[in-house]
Assembly symmetry: C2
Homo-oligomer: 369 residues x 2
DNA sequence: ACTGCGAGGTAAACTGTTTTAACTGATTCG
DNA sequence: CGAATCAGTTAAAACAGTTTACCTCGCAGT
């Protein structure tokens, strides 16, 4: 057997009678120094072998590598990061919504980020940006204290003023599904304008003219985009986008139900409702079904996001599909590029598409224009 | 050589004259050594101030603290961890289900873990245990390379053999919502047996006897618990738990729909369906509604988990509430205790309760027993 | 005056890497 | 034949903290 297997004879002096008893020594993990000693080379050589430095000869490389494999050496990443200045970790910053991760929307994006990060050799830490997290400047602290090399910011809105601190590009940051013209932050977003157009065009095509809007979170730039395009589309079809035709659904099922109720109370003659996300659409669906209003026969509903469960709503939901997983992947990829020195600004726009299901039909008592 | 923006140049004139080193350093962040120099004490002293070591006098402590605040010093965590042996990071390991984080179930638990971890001063990294992640022993590597001090394992089943490597308790690990008698791993779980009893008792009380079961993932111990209790309850009420009365719904909406179809095809006379999670229950609901079978008039449905959207299903779903957020919190807390040296085995059981909504009613053509 | 002691502080060793400048031989060139 | 080049390796200096063993007072006890 290999009596070399006692890798960490911490002092050479220690080789008493027991030649190779791997479990006798104080169980300190094997270090670069131990490997160097065993391989009879310097620590610098071992380090270079590890990093595939071409200055090391083929022969030495193989010799050292064999020892490394034999003793199962694993470089201590803390030490590596300490001297290399790179932590190989990125953070995902999520706002402090109660139970944030339970949201399928964030889940998709996170999945994308994690998958890509793993492939690029990065670990991902999760940060919830509660008010006192921001107040204590944690989002900067994770950089200063070398927790991370970069951050992906999700679910942020105009009131999240802390983002301005990333405007100077001193710390790599990537915003997902929102953008900030005033600070010029790097971002990766779905094409919400195009998505809204797809939904509205479809409804208009079906003959709907009186279309209610269940919006939410106008403090999010991309959410405002939806509202704006909705208005543009109505106007282009000779309809005034009345304020009474819309209500805030707060991105929740309950909010969506209330918004539907409010809109219908003011305009019993709407033939379609467009919700800015699927959760609200499902809430609206729920409300209508209680009121025995038939969807889509009496009212059509279109959602936004294409969550998994939307296909199983009752009736299944027509909605705009968002490539959230891909957004996550791309955000991560671009972030890592920036960390590695690429200076370009990032402003990616990913395409959406309409998914037609059962919640939409021709406008009642009308023919297609 | 740029003498602009020397790290400590931020401070006011007074110190500059005295101790501010003439050494014009580049824009390196301020280190313990810089603080020591400015405060005219040794680095050891500053370190001890940082760690509230009682050997430091009140006066010195305050003096040093002032300098620290003034220059905005932030200890480098990599260096701290390197010498202290603790990384203050834990990992959440999630199986490789496609788009895992998009699942509200995991989301809830993750939320709980993150919140508690933050309070305890720990960061959380996210790891997806894909097959090659396990094959390359990444789950051990994150310990050996000092990425983390401990792990929380979620969504694991009997086939996840890698868990056996945590059986020796060399590395702190906590299993969530599953348990492994063979390896005696620490775990925090919901009381699935009691939860199932609550659901079954309720159905039986409503007069149901022919109850179909939409189960899933029998390779998960806690999922088998549900099946077992279902059988026990039927038997206790004089019913043979026929194999044809149940079908695997794979924890998905689509699977739930198919399972409902299969059970009804074999037993058109079932009066209730019990689904092992809400997603499958919603899938079943969807199937029944397509078939124009009225819920709860003709068939009652009970779910499990109490996901947010279950309240907005159509009809809203009677289900067993699981304290997933609390499970996450507790798992994190116990894990940190173990990291900090508490040797006790952990085996926590958290209570569930039934949430009655609209998807259940008295069994058709029967009176309560 | 002399020892003993403890409080408060410091120098130096230590954590485990990367990196740089310097050092060998051996080969090639003038 | 001596100098220049070069490939391969090494010692030592970072990196930024923690920890330990030792030092230096001031003061109480004898």
């Amino acid at each position: 057997m290999d009596n070399l297997a006692a890798p960490v004879g911490i002092n050479d002096s220690s080789d008493d009678a027991t030649a190779a008893s791997p479990s006798v020594r104080p169980d300190r993990p094997v270090s670069l120094r131990d490997v160097a000693k065993l391989a009879q080379v310097s620590v610098a050589t071992v380090s270079m072998v590890l990093n595939d430095n071409p200055r090391i000869s083929r022969a030495t490389h193989m010799h050292v590598q064999r020892i490394i494999d034999k003793v199962g050496y694993r470089p201590n990443r803390l030490a590596q990061s300490l001297s290399s200045k790179y932590t190989q970790v990125i953070a995902i910053i999520i706002p402090a919504l109660r139970h944030a991760f339970a949201d399928a929307y964030f889940g998709e994006v996170i999945s994308g980020v994690c998958d890509r990060a793993g492939k690029l050799g990065y670990k991902v830490i999760l940060e919830q940006a509660k008010p006192d997290y921001i107040k204590s400047q944690q989002h900067v602290e994770i950089f200063e204290r070398r927790y991370v090399d970069g951050v992906v910011c999700m679910g942020v809105n105009d009131r999240h003023h802390f983002l301005s601190e990333f405007a100077d590009r001193r710390y790599p940051a990537m915003v997902v599904d929102n953008y900030f013209p005033q600070w010029g932050l790097d971002h990766v977003v779905c094409d919400y304008r195009a998505g809204t157009e797809q939904a509205m065009n479809y409804l208009l095509q079906l003959g709907h003219r009186k279309i209610g809007l269940i919006y939410a979170a106008p403090e999010i730039r991309t959410a405002r985009d939806k509202i704006e395009v909705y208005e543009e589309k109505l106007r282009a079809n000779g309809q005034e986008p009345l304020a009474t035709l819309r209500a805030d659904g707060k991105f929740t099922e309950a909010g969506g139900a209330e918004a539907a109720e409010a809109i219908l109370a003011r305009h019993p003659d709407v033939t379609a409702l467009f919700a800015a996300n699927d959760k609200m659409a499902i809430g609206a669906l729920h409300y209508l079904s209680r009121k025995r209003i038939k969807v889509p026969e009496q009212i059509s509903i279109v959602g936004f996001d294409d969550m998994q469960q939307s296909a199983f709503a009752n009736p299944s939901l027509t909605t705009v599909h968002l490539p959230l997983y891909e957004v996550g992947q791309l955000a991560c990829e671009r972030l890592v590029e920036r960390i590695r020195g690429k200076p370009d600004r990032v402003a990616e726009l990913l395409p959406t598409h309409l998914v037609v299901r059962e919640s939409t039909a021709m406008a009642a008592g009308r023919v297609t224009a």
